[in-house]
Amino acid sequence: MSADGTQAEATVRAVRLSKWYGPVVGVHGLTLELGPGAHGLLGPNGSGKTTFLRMCAGQLQPSLGEIKVCGGAPFANPDILRRIGLCPEVDAMYDELTGLELVTFMAELAGFSRKDARDKAAAELDLFGLKDAMERRVGGYSRGMRQRAKLAQAVIHDPDVLILDEPLTGTDPVSRALILDIVRKKAKAGACVLFSTHVLHEVEALTESILLIARGQLVAEGTATEIRDVLSEHPHHVRVETDRPRDLARALVEVEGIHALRFLGDSVVEVETHMPDAVYTRVPELALSLGVKVRSLTSPDASLEALFHYLVERGTRATGTGSGLDASSSGAPYRPIDDAPPPRRGSSKTKSPTTAPKGANS
């Protein structure tokens, strides 16, 4: 409830939010505001996604800054927690209970009467395709079934803010489609859905609102298209292991889009390019024409991790502070985050700009 007694809108607001564990920084100076709709939180393992989500779900207290969900601090606050649903990342569940018992207990603890809780749990499990398995113990469920049961307990009370920490991990295609469909419906119904993953296409399947988090900081946010632009701008590295790296390098110099060549040891040449497809096409052709043996053709940075390193390092170069990004100097297609009051995401009225105020840093 807000100060005037009305129910606050489904929002998540973080201001200079930080969390550390001794010397380890989990989240550092995160400032954002999210409104109704689905929001994808994208980042490599250990980037601070789970820490942030746990603070949103009232499991962790911030070390510094503040987090407000539906207008109030969620930590140990039942009035706010009743509006939050959490599907945690951990696979652990009450394995001794049946699916129906588990979801029924969670519904009772969410505020339903015993009978209503059981009826609602049965209906929710049916919705998640667990009708035939609801009387079986959760310990015997497959990974996909466990994920669906976890999601069922998270949405059983129809929360305003739904927090999903890597909900698609280990799921089969059927479970994946089912989970995405239900989450999409919740978002359409007006809930604020926060969805974390380290796989870009998982977020794309759900939302256009994407937040990139790395080393506990929000390094960029934007639509899937904007993030894709960043990805395509990201210099790509291709490593070619061959018996004659210098001859191959000499020929590769002529290939369009190559910025740099580097020798790694006696048999590997690393190519830096913005046109990786051209390199992948030309290397076999050149090898054939030169009579060079190519043993392997790999990319060390095919993962999102590389993109995050790139974003953070580019921000460091642009600002010279080692801690920020500056779109105005780098010409980046993504919007860096600043400390100023953040624009609301997920609201059609306040679409976020794609350039940052001068001097902004993350």
Binding site: T50, A92, E96, E108, L109, A110
Partner: protein, 262 residues
């Protein structure tokens, strides 16, 4: 959105109690606790028939050496110290902490389940021992009922206190609740219960034995220990149980439970 109002604390407590008892019933710890309790009781009863000792004396010896010196310490370590700690360790506590229920209610719900299970096992053991010892003289079963009734009262009462201690250490240090609880029992309960003088009054076990009427006035150095009325001892044990569970609830209220760490 049709989000329900937060549950009333009593309704939430009842749900948590049922959830915890169901998990205990289906888990391994309760079976292990039952086996240990039955084993100790059976050994005592077997000794009575093997030696031909008087049933009253044997019964007192089993209560004193088997239940008050062994089982009453083992059961809370098995059933209470892991009640929160295991959930913190496996991170299933997340499911409870995200519910609109005060954290103190979560703590008390888990505590009550462990304490009820422990007290039930102890009282059952007392009855088994009584029936076992007097099986050859059924007419005396009711005649000698006062000692087992007082023993059941003392054991039940101290079970609630010991479970609160176990739960507190489980919430405080989830990595080693059993070791810490065992150390506390060894130093503050067992050792303090046998040292001479007023130090014995520190031990809740001493008070529980006083409630049970099992304190031996002839034992070494007992003359240096101030005499306390049984009902005063009962109050002391009950107050200690309340104090420990309040301390546990405070830890649960403010703790992060290391949830942010990978």
């Amino acid at each position: 959105m049709t989000t329900p109002d937060r549950p009333a604390p009593i309704a939430a407590l009842a749900s948590l109690l049922r959830l915890s008892l169901l998990r205990l019933w289906r888990g391994r710890q309760l079976k292990l606790a039952l086996a240990i309790t039955l084993l100790v009781s059976a050994i005592g009863i077997a000794a009575r028939y093997a030696t031909g000792a008087a049933p009253e004396a044997t019964e007192k010896a089993i209560f004193d050496n088997g239940l008050f010196l062994v089982i009453v310490y083992v059961l809370p370590i098995l059933l209470a110290s892991g009640a929160l700690a295991d959930e913190i360790d496996s991170r299933t506590l997340t499911y409870l902490l995200v519910r609109p229920v005060p954290r103190s209610v979560i703590c008390i719900g888990k505590y009550l389940a462990a304490a009820l299970a422990t007290a039930t096992l102890l009282v059952a053991a007392v009855l088994v021992v009584h029936v076992g010892c007097f099986a050859a003289h059924p007419a005396q079963l009711v005649e000698h009922i006062e000692i087992p009734l007082r023993a059941a009262g003392g054991l039940g009462l101290v079970a609630f206190a010991y479970c609160a201690i176990g739960l507190f250490f489980g919430a405080l240090v989830a990595e080693a609740p059993s070791i810490l609880t065992a150390l506390w029992f060894l130093l503050m309960e067992f050792a303090a219960g046998i040292v001479p003088g007023p130090f014995r009054l520190i031990s809740l076990n001493h008070h529980a034995q006083n409630v049970a009427g099992l304190l031996d006035a002839e034992s070494s150095f007992s003359q240096y220990t101030p005499a306390v009325e049984p009902w005063t001892s009962a109050l002391i044990v009950a107050a200690a149980a309340a104090g420990w569970i309040c301390a546990g609830a405070l830890v649960v209220r403010f703790s992060d439970f290391r949830f942010g760490r990978a």
